[in-house]
């Protein structure tokens, strides 16, 4: 049973990781917590759902629709909620509060449009089961794993081998020097938001496909867990977010399996506190680059 639980944890963890990567990207570049990122994840799920319902898209196209929908919303959030407040001054709190507001607005709008109930995702993926003897996986779980792996590898390539990726890394190291050196910082921030939100959208569609339950409130949970993950992994580190997501997913599943589900959140956040005590900069945090 332990291996099966481990597999369950890895599946859950990869969806967490995808959402958390976006969080940490935005934090890395802007040094700001995007507290509406969970809602972007939720909107991605709904965008994918609409694509599946209206145009009868299969899972792959629903993923693309979800990523696109989330990316558009993410960019809009940057332009409407982040940028004007950033320009005003050096307050670190005001942009974060602004995102809290955006998150609430998005939640309420989606509730008005779709109702507050959980909605089922139409998909044909789930029913194939592959039995490996000591554990079994479903078709949709393999799909999740595959998509998450491909997304993370693609992101890694983007960040290390493309000019935009390099510009993003430069901006996250020191935004002022990057601007002086000729990088169009505003454009890079937009690209960061787009990429981060697209990943969250993909995660949203994956969660919808696998767990067959989408609701306007699913983003809230993911937002909080995302914060825990980026702290565990190290603020600003993409690989930290990936590792942190997997660790959190496995920890949650194992605590439910061997203890009781009431311990699940206690475990997850207890882990975060523990890691903060032992290694305050997080698992992959560099300790530099956070000073400005």
């Amino acid at each position: 049973m332990f291996l099966q639980q481990l597999a369950n944890g890895v599946m859950l963890g990869s969806t967490y990781a995808l959402a958390a990567i976006g969080y940490t990207l935005i934090f890395g570049v802007l040094r700001l917590l995007h507290l509406a990122h969970g809602e972007v994840f939720m909107i991605g799920a709904f965008a994918g759902l609409q694509a599946a319902l209206i145009w009868h898209f299969g899972p792959l196209l629903a993923l693309i629709a979800g990523a696109l929908g989330a990316a558009i919303v993410g960019v809009l959030i940057e332009v409407i909620a982040f940028r004007p407040i950033r320009r005003r001054g050096n307050s670190h709190l005001a942009p974060i509060v602004s995102t809290v507001g955006v998150g609430l607005v998005l939640q309420e709008v989606m509730t008005k449009l779709f109702g507050s109930e959980q909605i089922a995702f139409p998909s044909g993926l789930q029913k194939q089961v592959f039995d490996l003897g000591f554990m079994s996986v479903t078709g949709s779980q393999l799909f999740i794993l595959g998509t998450a792996a491909v997304s993370m590898i693609a992101l890694h390539q983007f960040v290390t081998h493309t000019r935009y990726g390099m510009a993003m890394r430069a901006t996250s190291e020191n935004i002022h020097v990057a601007a002086i050196l000729g990088i169009n910082v505003d454009a890079i921030i937009l690209v960061t938001f787009a990429v981060a939100s697209a990943l969250a959208g993909v995660a949203g569609v994956l969660v919808g496909l696998n767990f067959n339950a989408i609701s306007p409130f699913m983003g809230f949970d993911m937002g909080i867990k995302g914060m825990a993950i980026i702290v565990i992994g190290g603020l600003g580190s993409i690989y930290g977010a990936m590792a942190g997501g997997l660790i959190l997913g496995i920890a949650e599943v194992l605590s439910v399996a061997y203890l009781a589900s009431s311990f699940r959140d206690a475990f997850a956040f207890g882990l975060m506190v523990l890691i903060l005590i032992i290694r305050p900069r997080g698992l992959f945090g560099t300790g530099i680059g956070t000073a400005r």
């Binding site: 639980q5 369950n8 109930e117 959980q118 789930q126 767990f211 067959n212 599943v253 589900s261 009431s262």
Partner: protein, 385 residues
Amino acid sequence: MPLYPMLGRSVVLALAITGSSVGAATADVTIGVLTPLSGKGASYGQQQKNAIAMFLEKYGDIGGPAGKLQLVTYDTRGDNAEAINLTRKLIDSDQVLAIIGPQFSGEAEVSFPLAVRGQTPIITPMAAKAGITAANRPWAFRFALTTEKVYGPLLDAWLKKQAASKPIKDVVIFVDLKDAVSNYDAKTVFPPLLKERGIKVADTISFQTGDIDFSAQVTRAKSLEPDGVIVSSLFSEAAHVVDEMRKQGMNQPVVGAIGINHPRFITVGGTATEGVFAASDFFSENPKPEVAEWAAEFVKRFGDRPSNAAGEIYDTLYLMRECIKSTGVTGNNVKEDRVKLRDCWAGLKDAEAPLTGATSMDKNGDGTRIPTVLEVKDGKFTVVQ
């Protein structure tokens, strides 16, 4: 006595008399309704809203001195704190004669004491956790059956069916810790009933309302290899648990607690719900003509099959109207009218309601009637013979 105070008093008296007679001409009987229209349990709340609309159209006019039935409906969002505030509001500022609701056992537990303090009869159409009415006598009532009245016949019917193929010796209970009645059932109601029938509980595995990932819990249950499974939760989580069970290859027979009595259990769970046993006093596929007609109209108007929530609030409203008629309350004297309604409810015996049949109130204020054991067959709840 000096003239002016006497005059003053007479004027006040005259105004009071005319005021109350004006009141008698236009007073309507006001009943408060608490239902979760959004948030947790919005499914149940929306169905109740539709049932209320149907009821008012057919029975809104009470006739006689009572006039028309006025309902003041508030949305509790399934939240206990909100239920408290709204109960207070209904009693103190809206001056209702009685309250129908709240929906959930958790909400009822916190609202009932307020109704006792406010001396207002309060009847929950659906909260099923045992003991909450007994703790709040004489003002609190419950239309639904308490769960121990339901699960005895349910388990017997289920075991009888399984005995033919593979007798049940042990079960795993899945429980939603966050839902008051599901939690109570799994910990307090089911175990003694199971023990009476010689069945062991191999494990009680928990989750919470709103969870979407049940892989850990189901894997753990699977490793215990029980003969049967009991799911004590609301319909959405139950549907996902059953779905996850079938995905992981657990084919054991399943019994659901009362939380699954909702047509969306089958819509969300799909083919995984085939063969699940449940028990209810109202179900939309009931072939009885009154119920079938009512259900057909509900589907036509709202596009959704009615659940327990809709049927029970409709009948609760019906019995409330019967009480208003029989006691002749008019809304003029709120305090007295509340007492009259309370006594009417306490004395209900074999009162006929259109959808659930004859109801009596027992000495605890709990409804008694005969539940029907149901099985999911071909995507519908069907009666087990």
